[in-house]
């Protein structure tokens, strides 16, 4: 019966987020954006959408990175507004959404310090949704154990990190492994949290997270070909909350080339479609884009359900996709490279 009292606690925010969703750019907007000649044109058109005058105070000339920053800022302001007004368990749910950004930020900072970049430059590249106060001191750590003890022990990510402490030192390979281990722990935790919430939230979110988990498993496998990652280690990185678990994952762990991955996907109707449409030839969509498309579809579906938290997750994901789209178009416009300008992923 949680639906009965859902609106008492979360009705306002759900309404708000559904309202925000209506501001997501439509296909017609993209058609207009694609015709832009300069970034100024892009700005002019974005002004007529829900973005409003978010670029009004930027002096010319405009750059893509300014647009990116401003769009991100807008999303963050909206998200913070939601977060500041919410009650449990929605608060925890929204926090879970930020954890993935925190993971990305940590990895970004570690990689950056590994390459001797100044910390200030790195901080400005971090996603503001995933910032936490110990973040800036991350570069003192030189081993995973140190990272855990000095920096992460106070953050919500601490429990996820326990599995990584055993790694010896921080090099490129290990950073990737840490990232994926963190992600795996995070996804599984989030999955269980949503499952415990029950009701429509569990229904929607488990599907979304299962897809996310499977996508990671596929990508990890494909990216691991030609690296020194062993099959056993690879299997440890697969998040175990997707549709692939357990059979698909064990088969994936045995895969040695792209075709074998493809064969695994054959067993799952929804993934088969994705692999069938994907290709590397010009004109074909990449597998990554296919995954994004599928994600967008899932996210749109979640708005069909009432009384659940999935809409918040979906909104953030859709908005991110929208940012990627606009940035893509913006880059194409800025670099006068219009051949591939159409390969954005329409949302509505």
């Amino acid at each position: 019966m949680p639906e009965l009292s859902f609106n008492i606690d979360h009705g306002y925010l759900e309404g708000l987020v559904r309202g925000f969703k209506c501001g997501v750019l439509k296909q017609a907007d993209y058609l207009n954006l694609v015709q832009c000649e300069t970034l100024e044109d892009l700005k002019l058109h974005l002004q007529s959408t829900d973005y409003g005058n978010f670029l009004a105070n930027e002096p010319s000339p405009l750059t893509v990175s300014v647009i990116d920053d401003k769009m991100r800022e807008k999303l963050v302001v909206e998200f913070q507004h939601l977060r500041n007004h919410c009650l449990e368990p929605l608060a925890t749910f929204l926090d879970y959404i930020t954890y993935s950004y925190m993971i990305d930020n940590i990895i970004l900072l570690i990689t950056g310090t590994l390459h001797q970049r100044p910390i200030n430059e790195l901080i400005s590249k971090c996603h503001p949704l995933g910032s936490f106060e110990q973040m800036e001191a991350i570069h003192i750590a030189s081993t995973p154990a140190e990272l855990y003890n000095a920096v992460l022990v106070d953050t919500p990510l601490a429990p996820y990190f326990i599995d990584c402490i055993s790694e010896q030192d921080l090099d490129e390979m290990n950073i990737e492994i840490i990232r994926n281990t963190l992600y795996k722990a995070y996804l599984e935790d989030f999955y269980n949290f949503c499952k415990n919430l029950g009701g429509a939230t569990a229904e929607v979110m488990c599907e979304a997270l299962a897809f996310e988990a499977d996508r990671r498993a596929f990508i990890i496998t494909i990216n691991s070909f030609g690296t020194e990652l062993s099959k056993e280690d690879r299997e440890k990185l697969y998040p175990r909350c997707g549709n692939l678990y357990p059979d698909g994952l064990s088969k994936l762990s045995q895969a040695e080339d792209y075709d074998q991955v493809r064969q695994v996907a054959e067993y799952y109707a929804s993934y088969r479609e994705l692999f069938e449409g994907a290709g590397t030839n010009p004109g074909d969509k990449t597998l990554e884009d296919k995954f994004f498309e599928h994600e967008v579809k899932l996210m749109k579906q979640s708005f069909m359900h009432q009384f659940q938290f999935g809409v918040f997750y979906s909104y953030v994901k859709l908005k991110e996709q929208e940012c990627r789209n606009i940035i893509w178009i913006g880059e194409c416009v800025a670099q006068r490279h219009r051949a591939k300008i159409d390969s954005y992923i329409p949302i509505f």
């Binding site: 058109h45 002004q47 003192i140 920096v151």
Partner: protein
């Protein structure tokens, strides 16, 4: 002043403007504010329009102005409003404006960056001074070796024993106060407890040079041992963005440094003051002009936005605009266009010529301050269809009147009237305050309505003889009671007595105006008033509905739908009058014919009326002396039967005639030979009165007027007519009943105010405590007055207002008003003056 009764006659115009003159012309039109442009480039992307570059330049100017304005506001300078309204500058001047803004902005930015750099310098020096001062106290509490020893003790003792003398290093810096706890924790975790941290807050807040915010900070000192730890501590400091400052170890050096820093700070203060003065000068210069600048830029932008709606004719190097304009103002528009040409020095005149169109023109009423409120009431239901009868002029009277029927109390009416009067008299000064309070603005917008409602309430209050639930006895009651003193002084129960008109009423002149005050003390007051008010409500309601039906005549005549006069208006009127007009007749008949001696045996109205539909009449032979079933008058049966039959017959007329007539008309139109049609088309070249095309869209009548594009769908018309018929016939019954709310609310209001009197003020008045009573009545009066205002005036007033609104929208306007139009929104600069600023944009 345009006609109150219909919206202005509009015409679609085409404007041919020379490219060089177009800007000036549009600017002049904007000042005039009487022309509504149509967007001819709806399908063109925003960034592909012709004047997009100019719009962009305007936006750039806006951005600069916003920056300047923000800086002005930051220094808490006010932007003066002299009420001036500069014209839009010519396009050539735009460059000057741009240059001016550019200069202003860059100057400001330069000053700001300088000031920021200086401030940063100042901040650093202040922080350094604080560090030096605080470390001084750290060290002076116990002299250096001691504190180092203490730290040493804390850090080293467990590991290597006290004997080993280790040189401890330290660094000092400043960190925001709120970051201290995580900083301390992080140091602990990262250095495994091998560092020693002391910190102390800086008392006065320090100003952040970038944002100008005051921030609380703390000075800290960290003692550590060895280079590795030092590197690590420094990294953590960097991570937490703590500012580190060099701090010499010896006391003397520190004191010397402190002296140096203090003198440098003094110097810097001087320089800072000078920069501040310079900044002030720049801002004060901009402050006087900024309002004009904003208005100018907004006007330019509005003009270019409008120009973007025009289509471009390359062959004639001219812009073509289309738009709506009241026919009356055509000359004015032409004059203004000429002025624009003169200004721009163009030799070729602009051409304005009216177009013939099938599009429905927008609805435009010229209103005054007084009529605006009432027009708003009508528009809130639906904007009048072009040129249909406007209910507004009638609403001016009927609205306050029906309100006052429900709100009939002279006392409350006076209060309301005075409130309205105050708003009307103070109109100018209140208007200039530009309040943002929504509730206040609603009341203020309806100030004339409130005033009239108050006035009418005083009138009905006098009729009801009711002021704060008390009556006036001005002329002396026309009743004469036969109660003896003994009756009156009996027990409390007989304090109010039943008034029986038989023995008490002094046959002769009734009370000259309104209700006799004696009813106030009668026990049967409610019975009497109910009967009176109920009948009055029905009479008023039916009159208003008949009036509404009659108004539809003007619509039918204006739209040249003579057929509707006979097949719509007439049956409607017959239906209404035969059934409900007759009811009014009977009410009056009963009032006039039966006097007090026979009233006990008078036939009941309700039963009579029901019997009329049942065709049930008493047999004359069974007639008794006192029979409520008896008829009022002779031949009643015949007359009533005729009326019912007339009403019933008018229904099929209303339902069937119009659709079939339209169909025959349509069939006749489609059949005639082609030749005739062609000639009629060629005649159409000259412009005809616009009204003729418009009737196409009037109401639900889809009549075709010689044009073949409109589909004639018989079933649709038939269904619409059926709906209309059912709505009207059922509506007559339910609407009549609906008018009974006049009685119900009036009763409720009177009772509430009486209750308030007897339960509150009366208690205070009847207290027998000599002088103390004065105090009590003071308190009680406050309660009574507050409740009167809050409940009786505001709440009851609002509810009566709502019911009046409904009576007008549903019961009255449904008889003739279709409200399918759209508002005329001319292009004008007026609203630009109302932009109190652009500060909404971040």
């Amino acid at each position: 002043m345009g006609s109150l009764f219909r919206s202005e006659e509009m015409t679609l115009c085409q404007l041919f403007l020379q490219t060089e003159a177009s800007y000036a012309c549009v600017s002049e039109l904007g000042e005039l504010g009487i022309f509504q442009f149509k967007d001819l480039n709806q399908n063109v992307n925003a960034f592909q329009k012709k004047f997009v570059n100019e719009v962009r330049r305007c936006e750039e100017m806006e951005r600069k102005l916003r920056y300047i304005e923000k800086e002005i506001k930051k220094d808490e300078l006010k932007i003066p409003d002299f009420g001036e309204n500069p014209k839009a500058p010519a396009p050539k001047e735009m460059v000057d404006l741009e240059a001016q803004f550019e200069k202003n902005e860059s100057e400001l930015r330069e000053v700001n960056t300088n000031a920021e750099a200086l401030k940063r310098n100042f901040l650093e020096l202040t922080e350094l001074r604080e560090v030096l001062k605080k470390t001084q106290t750290f060290f002076s509490v116990v002299n250096l070796p001691n504190i180092v020893g203490e730290a040493q003790h804390a850090l080293v003792i467990e590991e290597s024993g006290p004997a080993q003398a280790v040189q401890l290093g330290f660094i000092a810096g400043v960190i925001p106060r709120e970051k201290v706890p995580p900083f301390e924790r992080m140091l602990w975790f990262a250095c495994r407890g091998n560092v020693f941290l002391r910190y102390e807050e800086i008392q006065q807040p320090l100003e952040d040079p970038h944002t100008g915010e005051a921030k609380h900070k703390a000075v800290f000192m960290i003692f550590f041992q060895g280079e590795q730890l030092k590197a690590r501590v420094k990294k953590i400091c960097e991570g937490f963005r703590a500012a580190l400052y060099p701090c010499p170890e010896s006391t003397q050096e520190r004191q010397e440094m402190l002296r140096g820093v203090t003198t440098r700070l003094e110097d810097l203060k001087m320089v800072l003051n000078q920069t501040e003065d310079h900044r002030r000068r720049v801002l004060v210069g901009a402050q006087k002009e900024i309002r004009n600048w904003i208005i100018k830029v907004e006007k330019i932008k509005a003009i270019y936005h409008t120009l973007n709606m025009f289509s471009f004719d390359i062959s004639h190097n001219s812009l073509i605009a289309e738009g709506w304009c009241p026919v009356q103002s055509l000359e004015e528009v032409r004059r203004v266009l000429k002025e624009g040409e003169k200004l721009s020095g163009s030799t070729i005149p602009s051409i304005l010529h009216p177009l013939k169109t099938k599009e429905v023109p927008p609805t435009f009423f010229k209103t005054s301050r007084f009529t605006q409120g009432f027009q708003n009431i009508v528009d809130a239901y639906g904007v009048a269809t072009y040129q249909e009868v406007n209910p507004m002029p009638y609403t001016i009277i009927t609205f306050p009147f029906l309100f006052s029927v429900m709100f009939g109390d002279a006392g409350h009416g006076t209060l309301m009237f005075l409130f309205g009067l105050w708003m009307v008299i103070k109109e100018k000064s209140l208007l200039s305050q530009k309040s943002n309070n929504e509730i206040w603005n609603t009341f203020f917008g309806g100030r004339y309505i409130i005033m009239l409602m108050g006035l009418f309430s005083i009138y009905t209050g006098m009729i009801y003889n009711d002021a704060f639930s008390k009556s006036f006895n001005i002329f002396g009651s026309a009743w004469h009671s036969t109660y003896t003193d003994g009756d009156l002084q009996g027990d409390g129960e007989t304090a109010t007595l039943v008034l029986d008109p038989g023995p008490f009423y002094r046959n002769g002149t009734p009370y000259p105006f309104g209700i006799d005050p004696i009813w106030q003390s009668a026990k049967n007051k409610i019975t009497f008033l109910n009967s009176f008010k109920m009948k009055m409500a029905v009479i008023l309601g039916i009159s208003q509905m008949v009036f509404g039906v009659c108004l539809s005549i003007f619509n039918h005549l204006h739209f040249k739908m003579i057929v509707c006069l006979f097949c719509e208006f007439l049956p409607e009127l017959i239906f209404l009058l035969a059934l409900f007009g007759y009811l009014i007749f009977m009410v009056y008949y009963k009032w006039l014919v039966f006097d007090v001696t026979e009233s006990g045996c008078a036939p009941a109205l309700l039963i009579q009326y029901i019997n009329m539909f049942m065709f049930k009449y008493e047999d004359a032979s069974e007639k008794t002396d006192c029979d409520v079933q008896a008829t009022f008058y002779e031949n009643q049966q015949t007359i009533q039967t005729i009326f019912v039959i007339m009403a019933v017959l008018s229904v099929p007329v209303l339902l069937l005639v119009k659709p079939f007539y339209l169909r025959s008309l349509h069939n006749a139109k489609t059949h005639p030979p082609k030749v005739e049609k062609d000639t009629s088309k060629s005649v159409n070249g000259k412009s005809k009165p616009v009204g003729e095309d418009v009737k196409v869209s009037y109401g639900h009548a889809l009549i075709n007027h010689g044009e073949d594009e409109e589909e004639f769908e018989f079933s649709e018309i038939f269904i619409e007519q059926a709906i209309h018929t059912i709505e009207f016939c059922l509506g007559c019954i339910s609407h009549t009943a609906s008018y009974l709310r006049l009685w119900a609310l009036s009763l409720a209001h009177a009772q509430l105010s009486e209750v308030l009197w007897t339960m509150v003020l009366h208690i205070g008045l009847s207290m027998d405590m000599q002088y103390l009573g004065g105090l009590i009545i003071f308190v009680v009066w406050m309660f009574w007055a507050n409740l009167t205002i809050a409940v009786l005036l505001v709440m009851e007033g609002l509810s009566a207002f709502l019911h009046t609104l409904r009576l007008h929208w549903v019961e009255f306007q449904s008889k003739f008003y279709s409200g399918n139009g759209y508002l005329f929104q001319p292009f004008g600069f007026k609203h630009i003056l109302d932009i109190d600023s652009l500060q909404e944009i971040k």
